[in-house]
Structures are given as structure tokens and as C-alpha cells.
């Protein structure tokens, strides 16, 4: 299996994603330069974290116009799995791959901290490796992670089980205290209606090895790769 890790100017979690895919899990990973139009026949596309174009104007607002985004959008439309992490999530929303928007944290501060997430649905190719209501731990590190969408959209996401991760307390309670950035309904990660584009603010690629303090990100990557393998076998 091969992952295409898109490199925008200002991406800075690209090497971490590369290490997660290839260093830790032993799959192939390639970097795709934002000025190119080539996803190098990858099976999955990763939009990594960072500060594409310095987050100037709005996080993701400029990156969505990078040349390679045309291929990324086509890949997603064709049902290919796209994993959009942190700045990648912001870019995916700006590009219309996912509904809603990510606004400045309610505290107005950048927040770097480990958070607890509750897995809300395991019926997706990204979460089949977890069990329902499992509480997992991984870091967040962002200044603009407050997920917002109009009421109907939020209802639809909830109704169709497209909210995959929610900020919770260590024992799985959804409280305002457990909400680091003011996201509506503690939403930390969602999938599109096709179930093939995942956007999340927390960093699964930073929870891959014991020395990182958590390995809770591993099942996310293995889930996708296994469903892809299953697909090719079928």
C-alpha cells in the first residue's frame, strides 16, 4: 500500500506522517509537491498538519488553490481515502471536501496538549480498528480548531454517524471542560458522506510509538490500510 503525503509550503507534519506510514507501519510513502499534478498512484492521500501559506488570511484558504488540490479532489470524488489532519482538516473544509469550518480557538490561544477522544463510530474504513466508545489519547496542537457548521449540517453529521471523534474526559464523558477549543458538540473529527474523507484536528501520527507517549493512532492507520487490502483482494 502506498500513501501520498502532500507537501504544501508551510506543511510541517509531513515528515511525521511519512514516519508513521513507512517508519512505523512499513508501508510505502511518497511526498507529493503542491505544484505538481501527480499523486504517484497512491492508494491513500494524507493532507498533513502545519501552517500552509503561514495560515495567512484563514488556515487552508490559500492552500486549497494549490495545483495538486485538483487531483486530490478528483481522488476523493472517486472514493479514494483522504486523511486530513489538523491543517489538512482546515484545507479540506476550505476545499469543500468536508462541511463546516475551523475557527480560532475560543480561548484565542494556541493549545498544545494531549486530549482524550471518544470513538463515536467504528463503521468506517478509518475507525474499524477501534471499538465503539473507546477512549483514546493523542495530542492536539492548533490555534484554529473550533469546528463550526450550521445547525442542519451538524444534525446531518450526527444523524448519519459522520462524527467519528469527540473530545471527552479520560473516562469518556463529553463535558465543556473536556472541550479544548470550543468546537460545536465537542466535535474533533468527521467524515464526509462518502465515508472516504476523514478530517480531524488531533494528531494520530503523533501517537504511533511508546516513546511518543501513546500508540492510539496506530489503529486508525491500520484500519485504512486493511480495508484497502481487503478491497484489492475482493
Amino acid at each position: 500500500m502506498k500513501a501520498a503525503i502532500v507537501r504544501f509550503p508551510g506543511s510541517n507534519c509531513d515528515e511525521d506522517a511519512f514516519h508513521a506510514v513507512s517508519g512505523v507501519l512499513g508501508h510505502d510513502a511518497v511526498y507529493c509537491w503542491h505544484k505538481d499534478h501527480d499523486l504517484q498512484d497512491a492508494d491513500i492521500v494524507v493532507l498533513p498538519g502545519g501552517f500552509s501559506y503561514g495560515d495567512y488570511l484563514r488556515p487552508g484558504a490559500i492552500a486549497r488553490f494549490s495545483p495538486i488540490m485538483r487531483e486530490v479532489v478528483d481522488f476523493a470524488k472517486a472514493g479514494g481515502p483522504v486523511l486530513a489532519i489538523c491543517n489538512g482538516f482546515q484545507i479540506a473544509c476550505e476545499a469543500g471536501l468536508l462541511p463546516g469550518a475551523l475557527l480560532r480557538n475560543e480561548s484565542l490561544r494556541f493549545i498544545s496538549a494531549p486530549v482524550h477522544l471518544r470513538v463515536e463510530s467504528v463503521a468506517t474504513q478509518f475507525t474499524s480498528g477501534y471499538h465503539v466508545d473507546q477512549v483514546i489519547r493523542m495530542p492536539i496542537a492548533h490555534g484554529d480548531g473550533r469546528y463550526t457548521a450550521d445547525a442542519d449540517t451538524v444534525e446531518r453529521l450526527e444523524g448519519e454517524g459522520h462524527v467519528l471523534f469527540r473530545y471527552v474526559t479520560p473516562d469518556g464523558e463529553r463535558t465543556s471542560g473536556a472541550n479544548p477549543n470550543g468546537s460545536v458538540r465537542n466535535i474533533a473529527g468527521i467524515v464526509n458522506s462518502g465515508g472516504n474523507v476523514l478530517g480531524m484536528m488531533p494528531h494520530p501520527e503523533r501517537a504511533m510509538e511508546p516513546l511518543m507517549g501513546s500508540v492510539d493512532g496506530v489503529p486508525l492507520f491500520t484500519s485504512v490500510f486493511e480495508s484497502l487490502l481487503a478491497g484489492t483482494r475482493a
Binding site: L57, E94, L108, T148
Partner: protein, 85 residues
């Protein structure tokens, strides 16, 4: 072609939480500006551009906002001024 100066306002849409506006309100109160009520904080852009006419300039200002400058999900924009410069 004439040079125009476009002034653009981009504001958080009503109903969307504006924590920066709130922080500024609180700050103004604690500085003694007790009369202050609601504060909204948005973006102000000044764009120099060439255009055939004021109308053309205004039209391209709109499309800049729709394409890039404002986020349709959370923000409203207004073209505050179009002047020759």
C-alpha cells in the same frame, strides 16, 4: 486601465461566536470604557487593482471575496469603498 483602491470588510456572520470581540469588550470594560456594548472584530483589506471602470473594479472585488477573501460558511463581506488612487 485605471488604478483603483478597494476597501473590503469581512465580518464574522451573526450568530457565530466571536471570542475576539468578547475579549476586546471585556478589555475595554476593564480599561474603563463602561459604555461599550457589543464588539465585533473582522478583517479590513485594502486592495490596489487596475480596472476598466469603477463598476468593473467593484465586480472583481466581489469575486475576490467569493473566491478567496471571505469564507462563505462563517463570514459576510462588504465592499466598503471603490476609489481611484
Amino acid at each position: 486601465m485605471t488604478r483603483f483602491r478597494l476597501a473590503i470588510h469581512i465580518v464574522p456572520r451573526r450568530g457565530i461566536l466571536d471570542p475576539q470581540g468578547k475579549a476586546v469588550t471585556d478589555a475595554l470594560h476593564s480599561l474603563g470604557f463602561s459604555g461599550v456594548g457589543d464588539v465585533r472584530v473582522g478583517r479590513y483589506l485594502v486592495v490596489e487593482t487596475d480596472a476598466e471602470s469603477a463598476d468593473a473594479a467593484r465586480a472583481s472585488a466581489r469575486s475576490m471575496c467569493e473566491k478567496l477573501l471571505a469564507n462563505p460558511v462563517t463570514e459576510d463581506f462588504e465592499i466598503a469603498a471603490v476609489e481611484q488612487s
